[in-house]
């Protein structure tokens, strides 16, 4: 089953998802939520790729989405490692507590 929709509609959704993720990054202090927001942003990019792939009827969009998937996994793996360290060394998940480096 495959349908035909105006690309701009998909892009609206992708952009909205992307911007919501961005808003999350801008607003949240808890590092877990920051990471979730990042996932949302990447997912939005994936959606855009899928849309583009669907527009051209090519598999490249899907492949890029898969690469993004790998990227997301990799980032999350390392990021969660960092989160663990953060909670161990700082005793909190508040990113603002880790703001000794400044000036």
């Amino acid at each position: 089953m495959a349908i035909s929709v105006p690309v701009e509609h998909v892009l609206y959704v992708a952009a909205l998802l992307f911007l919501m993720g961005l808003a999350g990054v801008l607003a949240r202090r808890n590092v877990m939520f920051l990471l979730m927001s990042l996932e949302v942003m990447m997912n939005a990019a994936g959606l855009a790729f899928i849309a583009a792939g669907a527009k051209w009827g090519q598999p490249d969009g899907q492949i890029m989405f898969m690469l993004i998937l790998a990227l997301a996994a990799a980032e999350v793996a390392v990021a969660l490692g960092l989160v663990l360290q953060l909670s161990r060394r700082y005793g909190t998940l508040d990113v603002d507590s880790a703001s000794e480096l400044s000036g």
Partner: protein
């Protein structure tokens, strides 16, 4: 012998170098021999060279040494040029110079402020003689300028000879700076002259000068006059000379009476042809002379310092010379220059003896009754004063001054003559005042006379010259320079000219010996104001202090830190401010950083969409 003319300036230079290089380590006697000896030999060489020159009958003689600078069309060379004018000047400089050096070997003998000062004194004096000789012998205005500045430097060095006293240093600097103002005009004159005539060779330039427009000629003449008034202490640059008396008395005699201060006269006489092109310029010369003459004479009336009296009298006498130049009495000016050199040197040296005898007391009101105790200085002073006052027939000053005044009357009418005669009367008055107060009346300080031969011999020789110089002048100078003998002594004008000084003396004797009581006037309010006005040299110093010195000092004080630097300091502050502002943005907060990235993204997208 003429080919050895270069020895005349070279010998004093050699003396200078010897004294300079030995750093004052020579024994004083040797210093005296070198110091006075080199000038003496130079005088001898000058004498022989002069005789040979006169015998040769040529109008001029020049001796090229080397090309100084050769750039494009500017090719001044170091050439010595001898003609009647420079011969007279050379004679005066070496002759009178030698006598004063001789006198100074005695005068400075025990004057050891510091180990090398005796040697240093003669080094400077020798250098001065060298520079002065270059000034008068230079064939080129640039060489003349070399001498001109050189004598200025020596004048500075010698005025400030007793350099531990800051006042002397001030006087020295004042002399140098004020004359430098004139020199600036002089230098500009040279630039203009060179631009217009393409050469600074005096003879060439003069020969070519007829091509000048009158306006340009006037401009050049006035600029040169600017130099002359500076060096010769004429209005308006006269203020340095009285202060210059801070130097040792032989210096005053040599530099500030006999030679250097007459350089301006020499310069104008030398450039005579140029001045003939511009009646205006000539007129200004005369005006300067007359103004100085009167101002200085009035000022001299109220001075208490014997050397200052003589200094003002020097100014006024040079005023005569300027007036002479201005009214066309060229030869008379030189004649007066010569006789003035004799008698003013005599006066200074004699006053130096008095001062030395009174342990450096210079205030005439602290002297008195000295005529018996110091006969040599007294008689020298008397002869000198006579010449200064122009006692008829027996003094040289009479002949030269008469020549000036009568020529002035002949060529320019009664104004200059009248002024000159008035000043002559004043001269008589203040000279009498000086003599009466110094040598008569009650003794106020006990002198001890120190009359070594090297000190009284120059006095004697100068005394003789002050008397016979006039006849010599009439006899020889007239022949050399021409234009001295063509006035009649019988006219009423001549009689008045002659009589006024005598009246002045009479008046002076009456007033200052107390026969006529002027105390009432002097002590009145107006009288006191007038006295203070005269005493201050007509308030020129006061004026210059406010117009030039104070503003300059003010500027120096407020701008010590260099206002231009503010531009850079400001730039620095702004940059630092920007840095601090920027550093504030680096808060270390992750979300703030992300927000900035979002802002960046907005900027980039807006730019890319063409909305910015």
């Amino acid at each position: 012998m003429l080919d050895l003319l270069w020895l005349v300036p070279a010998l004093p230079l050699l003396g200078f170098l010897a004294l300079f290089a030995t750093e004052g380590k020579l024994p004083d006697k040797l210093v005296a021999v070198i110091g006075a000896g080199t000038v003496g030999i130079a005088a001898l060489v000058a004498l022989f060279a002069g005789r040979e020159f006169l015998q040769s009958g040529e109008p001029s003689f020049s001796l090229s040494l080397w090309t100084w600078i050769a750039v494009a069309d500017f090719q001044p060379s170091i050439t010595l040029y001898l003609d009647a004018l420079s011969l007279v000047m050379m004679g005066v400089i070496t002759g009178v110079g030698f006598l004063i050096h001789l006198y100074a070997t005695g005068y400075m003998w025990k004057d050891h402020q510091e180990p090398a000062s005796y040697s240093r004194f003669f080094a400077y004096m020798n250098l001065f003689v060298f520079a002065m000789l270059m000034l008068v012998l230079g064939d080129n205005l640039l060489v003349l300028f070399l001498g001109w500045e050189g004598v200025g430097l020596c004048s500075y060095l010698l005025i400030g000879f007793y350099h531990r006293d800051a006042a002397n240093g001030y006087a020295a600097r004042k002399a140098f700076v004020v004359t430098r103002v004139g020199d600036t005009a002089f230098a500009l004159g040279l630039f203009l002259l060179f631009r217009e005539l393409g050469s600074l060779e005096i003879q060439q330039a003069l020969a070519a000068s007829s091509a000048l427009t009158p306006c340009m000629a006037t401009a050049i003449c006035l600029l040169l006059l600017g130099g002359a008034v500076g060096k010769s202490a004429q209005v308006p640059l006269q203020t340095w000379l009285p202060d210059a008396m801070a130097g040792p008395t032989p210096v005053s005699a040599l530099i500030h009476a006999a030679t250097m201060v007459t350089a301006g006269v020499y310069l104008i006489a030398r450039m005579q042809d140029l001045y003939l092109l511009s009646a205006n310029a000539q007129h200004y010369v005369a005006v300067v002379g007359l103004a100085t003459l009167l101002i200085a004479s009035f000022t001299a009336l109220t001075q208490r310092d014997i050397k200052r009296i003589l200094a003002y009298s020097t100014m006024s006498q040079i005023g005569y010379m300027f007036m002479a130049l201005g009214v066309g009495a060229w030869s008379a000016a030189i004649f007066h220059l010569m006789t003035h050199a004799f008698f003013k040197a005599l006066l200074f040296l004699a006053s130096g003896s008095v001062i030395l005898a009174l342990h450096h007391e210079q205030d005439i009101f602290k002297m008195g009754g000295l005529w018996k105790k110091l006969p040599v200085p007294f008689w020298s002073m008397a002869i000198g004063s006579g010449a200064l006052v122009a006692l008829p027939f027996v003094t040289s000053g009479f002949y030269s001054k008469d020549a000036i005044l009568l020529t002035a009357y002949d060529t320019s009418g009664w104004l200059y003559w009248g002024g000159g005669v008035l000043a002559a009367g004043l001269t008589a008055l203040y000279t009498t005042r000086m003599m009466v107060i110094t040598f008569f009346g009650d003794a106020k300080t006990e002198p001890h006379e120190d009359s070594r031969i090297n000190m009284w011999l120059p006095l004697a020789v100068l005394g003789v010259l002050s008397i016979v110089g006039g006849w010599f002048g009439i006899g020889v100078l007239d022949e050399l320079l021409g234009g001295l003998g063509d006035f009649s002594h019988a006219s009423p004008v001549a009689v008045v000219t002659m009589a006024v000084p005598l009246l002045g003396i009479l008046l002076g004797v009456l007033v200052f010996s107390g026969r006529i009581d002027v105390a009432g006037f002097v002590e009145s309010k107006a009288g006191d104001a007038l006295r203070r006005f005269f005493d201050s040299g007509w308030a020129f110093d006061w004026l210059y202090e406010r117009v030039f010195v104070k503003p300059f000092l003010w500027l120096a004080r407020v701008n010590k830190g260099d206002v231009v630097d503010l531009i850079y300091t400001l730039t620095k502050s702004i940059t630092r401010g920007l840095h601090h502002t920027g550093a504030l943005t680096q808060t270390g907060r992750l979300r703030w950083y992300a927000a900035n990235m979002a802002i960046g993204l907005i900027v980039v997208l807006l730019l890319a969409a063409g909305w910015l």
